[in-house]
Protein backbone atom coordinates (compact mmCIF):
# COMPACT_ATOMS: atom_id res chain seq x y z
CA UNK A 1 0.00 0.00 0.00
CA UNK A 2 1.35 3.42 -0.88
CA UNK A 3 2.16 5.88 1.95
CA UNK A 4 -0.35 8.37 0.50
CA UNK A 5 -3.15 5.84 0.79
CA UNK A 6 -2.10 4.95 4.35
CA UNK A 7 -2.18 8.64 5.32
CA UNK A 8 -5.65 9.11 3.78
CA UNK A 9 -7.04 6.09 5.60
CA UNK A 10 -5.28 7.07 8.86
CA UNK A 11 -6.54 10.67 8.87
CA UNK A 12 -10.08 9.49 8.08
CA UNK A 13 -9.95 7.00 10.93
CA UNK A 14 -8.76 9.67 13.41
CA UNK A 15 -11.57 12.03 12.38
CA UNK A 16 -14.27 9.56 13.56
CA UNK A 17 -16.18 10.03 16.83
CA UNK A 18 -16.47 6.64 18.57
CA UNK A 19 -17.90 8.20 21.77
CA UNK A 20 -20.95 9.56 19.93
CA UNK A 21 -21.39 6.24 18.15
CA UNK A 22 -21.33 4.48 21.53
CA UNK A 23 -24.20 6.67 22.80
CA UNK A 24 -26.14 6.03 19.57
CA UNK A 25 -25.74 2.27 19.88
CA UNK A 26 -26.96 2.45 23.49
CA UNK A 27 -30.14 4.34 22.53
CA UNK A 28 -30.80 2.04 19.57
CA UNK A 29 -30.13 -1.04 21.69
CA UNK A 30 -32.69 -0.02 24.32
CA UNK A 31 -35.23 0.88 21.62
CA UNK A 32 -34.74 -2.52 20.00
CA UNK A 33 -35.10 -4.32 23.32
CA UNK A 34 -38.32 -2.52 24.26
CA UNK A 35 -39.96 -2.91 20.83
CA UNK A 36 -38.91 -6.56 20.57
CA UNK A 37 -40.50 -7.13 23.97
CA UNK A 38 -43.72 -5.46 22.79
CA UNK A 39 -43.72 -7.52 19.57
CA UNK A 40 -43.30 -10.72 21.57
CA UNK A 41 -46.12 -9.78 23.97
CA UNK A 42 -48.56 -8.71 21.27
CA UNK A 43 -47.55 -11.51 18.93
CA UNK A 44 -47.92 -14.35 21.43
CA UNK A 45 -50.70 -13.16 23.77
CA UNK A 46 -52.67 -10.20 22.39
CA UNK A 47 -52.98 -10.96 18.64
CA UNK A 48 -55.69 -13.59 17.82
CA UNK A 49 -55.01 -16.71 15.73
CA UNK A 50 -55.77 -16.49 11.99
CA UNK A 51 -58.90 -18.00 10.41
CA UNK A 52 -56.86 -19.83 7.76
CA UNK A 53 -53.35 -20.28 9.22
CA UNK A 54 -54.32 -20.66 12.88
CA UNK A 55 -51.43 -20.22 15.31
CA UNK A 56 -48.87 -20.34 12.48
CA UNK A 57 -49.82 -16.77 11.59
CA UNK A 58 -47.52 -15.66 14.44
CA UNK A 59 -44.59 -16.23 12.06
CA UNK A 60 -45.96 -13.17 10.26
CA UNK A 61 -44.55 -11.07 13.10
CA UNK A 62 -41.00 -12.34 12.51
CA UNK A 63 -40.35 -13.48 8.96
CA UNK A 64 -41.43 -10.45 6.81
CA UNK A 65 -39.59 -7.96 9.06
CA UNK A 66 -36.44 -10.10 9.14
CA UNK A 67 -36.53 -10.51 5.34
CA UNK A 68 -36.97 -6.74 4.91
CA UNK A 69 -33.92 -6.09 7.11
CA UNK A 70 -31.96 -8.54 4.94
CA UNK A 71 -32.83 -6.45 1.88
CA UNK A 72 -32.07 -3.24 3.81
CA UNK A 73 -28.61 -4.54 4.75
CA UNK A 74 -27.67 -5.43 1.20
CA UNK A 75 -29.26 -2.22 -0.10
CA UNK A 76 -27.21 -0.19 2.36
CA UNK A 77 -24.10 -2.08 1.27
CA UNK A 78 -24.85 -1.33 -2.40
CA UNK A 79 -25.56 2.38 -1.82
CA UNK A 80 -22.44 2.81 0.29
CA UNK A 81 -20.44 0.98 -2.41
CA UNK A 82 -21.79 3.31 -5.11
CA UNK A 83 -20.88 6.29 -2.91
CA UNK A 84 -17.36 4.89 -2.48
CA UNK A 85 -16.97 4.30 -6.21
CA UNK A 86 -18.15 7.87 -6.98
CA UNK A 87 -14.87 9.85 -7.13
CA UNK A 88 -16.28 13.03 -5.53
CA UNK A 89 -17.77 11.17 -2.58
CA UNK A 90 -14.95 8.69 -2.01
CA UNK A 91 -14.25 8.29 1.68
CA UNK A 92 -13.37 5.31 3.93
CA UNK A 93 -16.60 5.86 5.86
CA UNK A 94 -18.59 4.50 2.88
CA UNK A 95 -16.51 1.34 2.88
CA UNK A 96 -17.13 0.92 6.62
CA UNK A 97 -20.86 1.41 6.07
CA UNK A 98 -20.80 -1.11 3.20
CA UNK A 99 -19.20 -3.85 5.28
CA UNK A 100 -21.52 -3.08 8.20
CA UNK A 101 -24.57 -3.36 5.92
CA UNK A 102 -23.33 -6.56 4.24
CA UNK A 103 -22.45 -8.30 7.48
CA UNK A 104 -25.72 -7.43 9.22
CA UNK A 105 -27.60 -8.20 5.98
CA UNK A 106 -25.97 -11.65 5.90
CA UNK A 107 -27.10 -12.32 9.49
CA UNK A 108 -30.69 -11.32 8.63
CA UNK A 109 -30.51 -13.31 5.37
CA UNK A 110 -29.58 -16.44 7.35
CA UNK A 111 -32.43 -15.69 9.76
CA UNK A 112 -34.81 -15.20 6.79
CA UNK A 113 -33.94 -18.64 5.44
CA UNK A 114 -34.40 -20.28 8.85
CA UNK A 115 -37.71 -18.56 9.72
CA UNK A 116 -38.99 -19.05 6.16
CA UNK A 117 -38.14 -22.72 6.34
CA UNK A 118 -40.02 -23.09 9.64
CA UNK A 119 -43.06 -21.28 8.22
CA UNK A 120 -42.84 -23.33 5.01
CA UNK A 121 -42.91 -26.55 7.05
CA UNK A 122 -46.04 -25.33 8.82
CA UNK A 123 -47.81 -23.97 5.72
CA UNK A 124 -46.62 -26.18 2.85
CA UNK A 125 -45.57 -29.30 4.79
CA UNK A 126 -41.93 -29.17 3.65
CA UNK A 127 -38.82 -27.49 5.11
CA UNK A 128 -37.65 -26.41 1.66
CA UNK A 129 -39.11 -26.13 -1.81
CA UNK A 130 -37.42 -25.06 -5.06
CA UNK A 131 -39.40 -21.88 -5.24
CA UNK A 132 -37.99 -18.90 -7.16
CA UNK A 133 -37.80 -16.57 -4.19
CA UNK A 134 -36.41 -19.18 -1.79
CA UNK A 135 -33.76 -20.22 -4.29
CA UNK A 136 -32.72 -16.64 -5.01
CA UNK A 137 -32.54 -15.85 -1.29
CA UNK A 138 -30.25 -18.85 -0.82
CA UNK A 139 -28.09 -17.59 -3.71
CA UNK A 140 -28.02 -14.14 -2.12
CA UNK A 141 -26.85 -15.66 1.17
CA UNK A 142 -24.05 -17.50 -0.66
CA UNK A 143 -23.10 -14.26 -2.48
CA UNK A 144 -22.88 -12.39 0.82
CA UNK A 145 -20.65 -15.09 2.32
CA UNK A 146 -18.39 -14.75 -0.73
CA UNK A 147 -18.35 -10.95 -0.34
CA UNK A 148 -17.31 -11.23 3.31
CA UNK A 149 -14.68 -13.89 2.53
CA UNK A 150 -13.28 -11.64 -0.21
CA UNK A 151 -12.97 -8.72 2.21
CA UNK A 152 -11.04 -10.88 4.67
CA UNK A 153 -8.64 -11.99 1.92
CA UNK A 154 -7.44 -8.49 0.90
CA UNK A 155 -5.11 -6.59 3.24
CA UNK A 156 -4.79 -3.27 1.42
CA UNK A 157 -7.77 -1.07 2.48
CA UNK A 158 -8.06 0.73 -0.87
CA UNK A 159 -7.98 -2.46 -2.95
CA UNK A 160 -10.38 -4.13 -0.53
CA UNK A 161 -12.84 -1.24 -0.79
CA UNK A 162 -12.68 -1.11 -4.60
CA UNK A 163 -13.02 -4.83 -5.26
CA UNK A 164 -15.71 -5.38 -2.67
CA UNK A 165 -17.69 -2.37 -3.95
CA UNK A 166 -17.81 -3.99 -7.41
CA UNK A 167 -18.98 -7.30 -5.94
CA UNK A 168 -21.59 -5.47 -3.86
CA UNK A 169 -23.17 -3.98 -6.96
CA UNK A 170 -23.69 -7.46 -8.38
CA UNK A 171 -25.22 -8.52 -5.07
CA UNK A 172 -27.62 -5.59 -5.29
CA UNK A 173 -28.80 -6.74 -8.70
CA UNK A 174 -29.64 -10.15 -7.21
CA UNK A 175 -31.62 -8.41 -4.44
CA UNK A 176 -33.71 -6.61 -7.07
CA UNK A 177 -34.38 -9.85 -8.98
CA UNK A 178 -35.10 -11.58 -5.68
CA UNK A 179 -37.62 -8.96 -4.59
CA UNK A 180 -39.59 -9.14 -7.83
CA UNK A 181 -39.29 -12.93 -8.13
CA UNK A 182 -42.82 -13.49 -6.84
CA UNK A 183 -44.33 -11.52 -9.71
CA UNK A 184 -41.86 -12.52 -12.47
CA UNK A 185 -41.96 -16.28 -11.90
CA UNK A 186 -44.63 -18.75 -10.85
CA UNK A 187 -44.06 -19.14 -7.13
CA UNK A 188 -45.61 -20.69 -4.03
CA UNK A 189 -44.45 -17.75 -1.95
CA UNK A 190 -47.04 -15.39 -0.51
CA UNK A 191 -47.27 -12.03 -2.29
CA UNK A 192 -47.31 -8.54 -0.78
CA UNK A 193 -49.23 -8.36 2.52
CA UNK A 194 -48.92 -4.75 3.61
CA UNK A 195 -47.93 -2.70 0.57
CA UNK A 196 -51.13 -3.27 -1.39
CA UNK A 197 -54.25 -1.07 -1.79
CA UNK A 198 -56.22 -3.63 0.24
CA UNK A 199 -53.97 -5.11 3.00
CA UNK A 200 -54.87 -8.65 4.04
CA UNK A 201 -54.15 -8.08 7.77
CA UNK A 202 -56.16 -5.88 10.15
CA UNK A 203 -56.51 -4.92 13.81
CA UNK A 204 -54.02 -6.40 16.29
CA UNK A 205 -52.42 -8.48 13.53
CA UNK A 206 -51.61 -5.31 11.58
CA UNK A 207 -50.44 -3.46 14.72
CA UNK A 208 -48.19 -6.34 15.76
CA UNK A 209 -46.78 -6.69 12.28
CA UNK A 210 -45.97 -2.97 12.13
CA UNK A 211 -44.39 -3.17 15.61
CA UNK A 212 -42.24 -6.08 14.40
CA UNK A 213 -40.92 -3.84 11.61
CA UNK A 214 -40.05 -1.13 14.15
CA UNK A 215 -38.41 -3.72 16.44
CA UNK A 216 -36.31 -5.44 13.81
CA UNK A 217 -35.56 -2.07 12.20
CA UNK A 218 -34.17 -0.81 15.52
CA UNK A 219 -32.22 -4.04 15.97
CA UNK A 220 -30.85 -3.67 12.44
CA UNK A 221 -29.80 -0.05 13.05
CA UNK A 222 -28.21 -1.01 16.39
CA UNK A 223 -26.20 -3.80 14.75
CA UNK A 224 -25.11 -1.58 11.84
CA UNK A 225 -24.04 1.25 14.16
CA UNK A 226 -22.15 -1.22 16.35
CA UNK A 227 -20.44 -2.84 13.38
CA UNK A 228 -19.55 0.54 11.89
CA UNK A 229 -18.02 1.62 15.21
CA UNK A 230 -15.98 -1.59 15.37
CA UNK A 231 -14.65 -1.00 11.86
CA UNK A 232 -13.79 2.60 12.78
CA UNK A 233 -11.92 1.47 15.89
CA UNK A 234 -10.01 -1.12 13.86
CA UNK A 235 -9.01 1.57 11.34
CA UNK A 236 -7.98 3.86 14.18
CA UNK A 237 -5.93 1.11 15.80
CA UNK A 238 -4.09 0.53 12.51
CA UNK A 239 -3.64 4.27 11.96
CA UNK A 240 -2.30 4.94 15.46
CA UNK A 241 0.04 1.97 15.25
CA UNK A 242 1.42 3.40 12.03
CA UNK A 243 1.67 6.94 13.47
CA UNK A 244 3.45 5.79 16.63
CA UNK A 245 5.89 3.74 14.55
CA UNK A 246 6.61 6.82 12.41
CA UNK A 247 7.09 8.95 15.55
CA UNK A 248 9.52 6.42 16.97
CA UNK A 249 11.44 6.37 13.70
CA UNK A 250 11.63 10.19 13.63
CA UNK A 251 12.77 10.26 17.27
CA UNK A 252 15.61 7.95 16.34
CA UNK A 253 16.65 10.35 13.58
CA UNK A 254 16.45 13.48 15.77
CA UNK A 255 18.32 12.10 18.79
CA UNK A 256 21.14 9.90 17.55
CA UNK A 257 22.89 7.81 20.21
CA UNK A 258 26.13 9.11 21.73
CA UNK A 259 29.17 7.99 19.72
CA UNK A 260 30.41 5.68 22.47
CA UNK A 261 32.14 2.46 21.56
CA UNK A 262 30.12 -0.66 22.44
CA UNK A 263 30.90 -1.93 25.92
CA UNK A 264 32.51 1.39 26.95
CA UNK A 265 30.68 3.86 29.12
CA UNK A 266 31.64 7.30 30.28
CA UNK A 267 32.70 7.48 33.93
CA UNK A 268 29.59 7.36 36.15
CA UNK A 269 27.26 6.48 33.18
CA UNK A 270 25.62 3.08 32.45
CA UNK A 271 26.60 1.19 29.30
CA UNK A 272 24.49 2.19 26.22
CA UNK A 273 21.53 -0.03 25.24
CA UNK A 274 21.65 -1.71 21.84
CA UNK A 275 19.63 0.22 19.22
CA UNK A 276 16.08 -0.96 18.54
CA UNK A 277 14.11 -0.58 15.32
CA UNK A 278 10.76 0.71 16.54
CA UNK A 279 9.36 2.00 19.79
CA UNK A 280 10.98 1.83 23.18
CA UNK A 281 10.27 -0.41 26.17
CA UNK A 282 7.33 1.10 27.98
CA UNK A 283 6.54 3.42 25.05
CA UNK A 284 3.44 3.34 22.83
CA UNK A 285 2.83 -0.02 21.18
CA UNK A 286 3.85 -0.19 17.56
CA UNK A 287 1.94 -2.47 15.19
CA UNK A 288 3.91 -1.63 12.08
CA UNK A 289 7.44 -2.85 11.70
CA UNK A 290 9.82 -0.08 10.61
CA UNK A 291 12.75 -1.16 8.53
CA UNK A 292 16.07 0.59 9.25
CA UNK A 293 17.90 1.32 6.05
Amino acid sequence: MSQERVRTWASAARSGRPARAARLTQVLGWAALVTLGLTTWWGLWVSPPDVVQGQYVRMLYVHPAVATMCYAGFGLCALASVAWLWPRLRSPRWDRLAVAGAEVGAVFCGATLVTGSIWGRASWGVWWTWDARLTLTAILFALSLGYLALRRAIDDPHSRALVSAMVALLMALTVVVDHYATSWFVTLHQGETLLTPDPTVHGWQLATMLMSFVAFGSLFAWMVAHRYRLELLEDRYDAEGYTSALAARRAEGQAPPEPVAPGRAAPGQPAPEPATTAGAPGGPPSKVEVRVS
Partner: protein, 222 residues
Protein backbone atom coordinates in the same frame (compact mmCIF):
# COMPACT_ATOMS: atom_id res chain seq x y z
CA UNK B 1 -10.18 -2.82 -28.23
CA UNK B 2 -11.35 -5.56 -30.64
CA UNK B 3 -7.85 -5.94 -32.08
CA UNK B 4 -6.44 -6.32 -28.55
CA UNK B 5 -9.15 -8.85 -27.75
CA UNK B 6 -8.20 -10.91 -30.80
CA UNK B 7 -4.52 -10.75 -29.85
CA UNK B 8 -5.13 -11.91 -26.27
CA UNK B 9 -7.59 -14.62 -27.33
CA UNK B 10 -5.13 -15.86 -29.95
CA UNK B 11 -2.30 -15.91 -27.39
CA UNK B 12 -4.35 -17.87 -24.82
CA UNK B 13 -5.64 -20.34 -27.40
CA UNK B 14 -2.13 -20.90 -28.82
CA UNK B 15 -0.83 -21.59 -25.30
CA UNK B 16 -3.69 -24.05 -24.73
CA UNK B 17 -3.03 -25.58 -28.12
CA UNK B 18 0.58 -26.32 -27.20
CA UNK B 19 0.07 -27.25 -23.52
CA UNK B 20 -3.22 -29.17 -24.14
CA UNK B 21 -4.27 -28.77 -20.49
CA UNK B 22 -7.96 -28.34 -21.42
CA UNK B 23 -7.83 -31.38 -23.70
CA UNK B 24 -5.86 -33.67 -21.38
CA UNK B 25 -7.18 -32.60 -17.98
CA UNK B 26 -10.39 -30.51 -18.01
CA UNK B 27 -12.15 -32.61 -20.69
CA UNK B 28 -11.57 -35.98 -18.97
CA UNK B 29 -12.50 -34.40 -15.63
CA UNK B 30 -15.89 -33.26 -16.98
CA UNK B 31 -16.61 -36.74 -18.35
CA UNK B 32 -15.69 -38.25 -14.97
CA UNK B 33 -18.19 -35.85 -13.35
CA UNK B 34 -20.91 -37.18 -15.68
CA UNK B 35 -19.98 -40.76 -14.72
CA UNK B 36 -20.16 -39.84 -11.03
CA UNK B 37 -23.67 -38.43 -11.56
CA UNK B 38 -24.60 -41.82 -13.04
CA UNK B 39 -23.31 -43.58 -9.90
CA UNK B 40 -25.06 -41.04 -7.63
CA UNK B 41 -28.43 -41.68 -9.34
CA UNK B 42 -27.86 -45.44 -9.15
CA UNK B 43 -27.97 -45.73 -12.95
CA UNK B 44 -31.70 -44.98 -12.91
CA UNK B 45 -32.10 -44.41 -16.66
CA UNK B 46 -35.45 -42.47 -16.74
CA UNK B 47 -34.28 -40.22 -13.90
CA UNK B 48 -30.91 -39.60 -15.58
CA UNK B 49 -32.59 -38.80 -18.89
CA UNK B 50 -34.91 -36.32 -17.18
CA UNK B 51 -32.11 -34.73 -15.17
CA UNK B 52 -29.65 -34.68 -18.10
CA UNK B 53 -29.91 -30.89 -18.81
CA UNK B 54 -29.17 -29.96 -15.19
CA UNK B 55 -26.34 -32.48 -14.88
CA UNK B 56 -24.86 -31.20 -18.14
CA UNK B 57 -24.78 -27.58 -16.94
CA UNK B 58 -23.43 -28.52 -13.50
CA UNK B 59 -20.58 -30.36 -15.25
CA UNK B 60 -20.00 -27.24 -17.39
CA UNK B 61 -19.93 -25.09 -14.22
CA UNK B 62 -17.29 -27.31 -12.57
CA UNK B 63 -15.20 -27.32 -15.73
CA UNK B 64 -15.55 -23.55 -16.14
CA UNK B 65 -13.99 -22.97 -12.70
CA UNK B 66 -10.97 -25.02 -13.79
CA UNK B 67 -10.80 -23.26 -17.17
CA UNK B 68 -10.77 -19.72 -15.72
CA UNK B 69 -8.29 -20.73 -13.01
CA UNK B 70 -6.04 -22.09 -15.74
CA UNK B 71 -6.51 -18.92 -17.81
CA UNK B 72 -5.17 -16.75 -14.98
CA UNK B 73 -2.54 -19.24 -13.84
CA UNK B 74 -0.90 -18.47 -17.20
CA UNK B 75 -0.71 -14.79 -16.25
CA UNK B 76 0.40 -15.12 -12.63
CA UNK B 77 3.39 -17.37 -13.36
CA UNK B 78 6.73 -15.65 -14.11
CA UNK B 79 5.17 -12.20 -13.56
CA UNK B 80 3.40 -12.33 -16.93
CA UNK B 81 0.57 -10.23 -15.53
CA UNK B 82 2.96 -7.30 -14.95
CA UNK B 83 3.95 -7.40 -18.61
CA UNK B 84 0.28 -7.52 -19.54
CA UNK B 85 -0.35 -4.43 -17.36
CA UNK B 86 2.62 -2.62 -18.89
CA UNK B 87 1.64 -3.51 -22.44
CA UNK B 88 -0.43 -0.86 -24.19
CA UNK B 89 -3.37 -3.22 -24.61
CA UNK B 90 -6.80 -1.90 -23.64
CA UNK B 91 -8.01 -3.54 -20.37
CA UNK B 92 -11.44 -4.07 -21.96
CA UNK B 93 -9.71 -5.80 -24.89
CA UNK B 94 -7.74 -8.05 -22.51
CA UNK B 95 -10.98 -8.95 -20.71
CA UNK B 96 -12.85 -9.74 -23.92
CA UNK B 97 -9.90 -11.69 -25.31
CA UNK B 98 -9.53 -13.85 -22.22
CA UNK B 99 -13.31 -14.36 -22.01
CA UNK B 100 -13.40 -15.35 -25.70
CA UNK B 101 -10.57 -17.87 -25.22
CA UNK B 102 -12.33 -19.42 -22.20
CA UNK B 103 -15.64 -19.44 -24.13
CA UNK B 104 -14.07 -21.29 -27.10
CA UNK B 105 -12.65 -23.94 -24.75
CA UNK B 106 -15.99 -24.27 -22.95
CA UNK B 107 -17.90 -24.65 -26.21
CA UNK B 108 -15.60 -27.49 -27.26
CA UNK B 109 -16.07 -29.02 -23.82
CA UNK B 110 -19.86 -28.68 -24.13
CA UNK B 111 -19.70 -30.61 -27.41
CA UNK B 112 -17.91 -33.44 -25.58
CA UNK B 113 -20.37 -33.30 -22.68
CA UNK B 114 -23.38 -33.29 -25.05
CA UNK B 115 -22.00 -36.50 -26.55
CA UNK B 116 -21.62 -37.78 -22.98
CA UNK B 117 -25.25 -37.13 -21.98
CA UNK B 118 -26.48 -38.77 -25.21
CA UNK B 119 -24.36 -41.89 -24.69
CA UNK B 120 -24.46 -42.18 -20.89
CA UNK B 121 -27.90 -40.76 -20.02
CA UNK B 122 -29.72 -41.65 -23.27
CA UNK B 123 -30.82 -38.03 -23.72
CA UNK B 124 -32.35 -37.31 -27.14
CA UNK B 125 -31.08 -33.97 -28.44
CA UNK B 126 -33.92 -32.03 -30.09
CA UNK B 127 -34.78 -28.37 -30.61
CA UNK B 128 -31.36 -27.60 -32.07
CA UNK B 129 -31.97 -23.84 -32.42
CA UNK B 130 -32.87 -23.35 -28.74
CA UNK B 131 -30.13 -25.74 -27.59
CA UNK B 132 -27.45 -23.99 -29.64
CA UNK B 133 -28.59 -20.44 -28.85
CA UNK B 134 -28.86 -21.06 -25.10
CA UNK B 135 -25.47 -22.83 -25.07
CA UNK B 136 -23.84 -19.87 -26.85
CA UNK B 137 -25.38 -17.20 -24.62
CA UNK B 138 -24.82 -19.16 -21.40
CA UNK B 139 -21.20 -19.82 -22.33
CA UNK B 140 -20.64 -16.12 -22.98
CA UNK B 141 -22.08 -15.28 -19.55
CA UNK B 142 -20.09 -18.00 -17.76
CA UNK B 143 -16.85 -16.95 -19.45
CA UNK B 144 -17.43 -13.23 -18.73
CA UNK B 145 -18.28 -13.73 -15.05
CA UNK B 146 -15.50 -16.31 -14.67
CA UNK B 147 -12.80 -14.06 -16.14
CA UNK B 148 -13.95 -11.01 -14.12
CA UNK B 149 -13.94 -12.96 -10.84
CA UNK B 150 -10.67 -14.72 -11.64
CA UNK B 151 -9.06 -11.29 -12.22
CA UNK B 152 -10.53 -10.10 -8.95
CA UNK B 153 -9.02 -12.97 -6.96
CA UNK B 154 -5.81 -13.24 -9.01
CA UNK B 155 -3.39 -11.67 -6.52
CA UNK B 156 -4.88 -13.20 -3.39
CA UNK B 157 -3.24 -15.93 -1.34
CA UNK B 158 -6.50 -17.87 -1.04
CA UNK B 159 -7.57 -17.57 -4.69
CA UNK B 160 -7.90 -21.35 -5.27
CA UNK B 161 -10.60 -21.67 -2.63
CA UNK B 162 -12.11 -18.19 -2.91
CA UNK B 163 -12.81 -18.31 -6.65
CA UNK B 164 -15.28 -21.24 -6.54
CA UNK B 165 -17.04 -19.67 -3.53
CA UNK B 166 -17.43 -16.37 -5.38
CA UNK B 167 -18.22 -17.82 -8.78
CA UNK B 168 -20.76 -20.55 -7.98
CA UNK B 169 -23.51 -18.23 -6.64
CA UNK B 170 -22.89 -15.73 -9.45
CA UNK B 171 -23.26 -18.44 -12.09
CA UNK B 172 -26.26 -20.07 -10.37
CA UNK B 173 -28.84 -17.94 -12.28
CA UNK B 174 -27.14 -18.87 -15.56
CA UNK B 175 -27.13 -22.57 -14.68
CA UNK B 176 -30.81 -22.31 -13.67
CA UNK B 177 -31.89 -20.49 -16.84
CA UNK B 178 -29.83 -22.60 -19.24
CA UNK B 179 -31.08 -25.81 -17.61
CA UNK B 180 -34.69 -24.67 -18.01
CA UNK B 181 -34.05 -23.67 -21.65
CA UNK B 182 -32.53 -27.10 -22.37
CA UNK B 183 -35.33 -28.90 -20.51
CA UNK B 184 -37.79 -27.10 -22.76
CA UNK B 185 -35.77 -27.85 -25.92
CA UNK B 186 -35.48 -31.56 -25.03
CA UNK B 187 -39.19 -31.76 -24.25
CA UNK B 188 -38.60 -32.65 -20.57
CA UNK B 189 -40.66 -29.65 -19.46
CA UNK B 190 -43.48 -27.67 -21.07
CA UNK B 191 -42.06 -24.26 -20.10
CA UNK B 192 -41.24 -21.55 -22.64
CA UNK B 193 -37.54 -22.07 -23.32
CA UNK B 194 -37.17 -18.85 -25.32
CA UNK B 195 -38.24 -16.85 -22.25
CA UNK B 196 -35.42 -18.46 -20.28
CA UNK B 197 -33.08 -17.63 -23.16
CA UNK B 198 -34.07 -13.97 -22.72
CA UNK B 199 -33.16 -14.13 -19.02
CA UNK B 200 -29.85 -15.78 -19.95
CA UNK B 201 -29.15 -12.97 -22.40
CA UNK B 202 -29.80 -10.40 -19.67
CA UNK B 203 -27.36 -12.02 -17.25
CA UNK B 204 -24.73 -12.48 -19.97
CA UNK B 205 -25.03 -8.81 -20.99
CA UNK B 206 -24.68 -7.67 -17.36
CA UNK B 207 -21.57 -9.80 -16.77
CA UNK B 208 -19.98 -8.74 -20.07
CA UNK B 209 -20.67 -5.04 -19.44
CA UNK B 210 -19.49 -5.33 -15.82
CA UNK B 211 -16.28 -7.01 -16.92
CA UNK B 212 -15.55 -4.47 -19.67
CA UNK B 213 -16.11 -1.55 -17.28
CA UNK B 214 -14.26 -2.92 -14.25
CA UNK B 215 -11.41 -4.99 -15.68
CA UNK B 216 -8.93 -2.10 -15.84
CA UNK B 217 -9.41 -1.25 -12.16
CA UNK B 218 -9.24 -4.94 -11.21
CA UNK B 219 -5.97 -5.40 -13.09
CA UNK B 220 -4.48 -2.39 -11.30
CA UNK B 221 -5.59 -3.37 -7.81
CA UNK B 222 -5.05 -7.13 -7.68
Amino acid sequence: MWRDALLVAGKDLRIEGSSKVALNQVGPYSVVVLLLFGFAFDQDRPLLTEAAPGLFWIAVLFSAVLAVQRSFALETSDGAVDRLRLSRLEPAGIFLGKAAAVAVQLLLLEGLLALGVVVLFHARLAGAALLGASALVATAGIAAAGVAYAALSMGLRVRETLLPLLLAPVLAPIVLASTEAWRSALGVSTGDGWRWLGLLGGFAAIYLAGGVLSFGALMEET
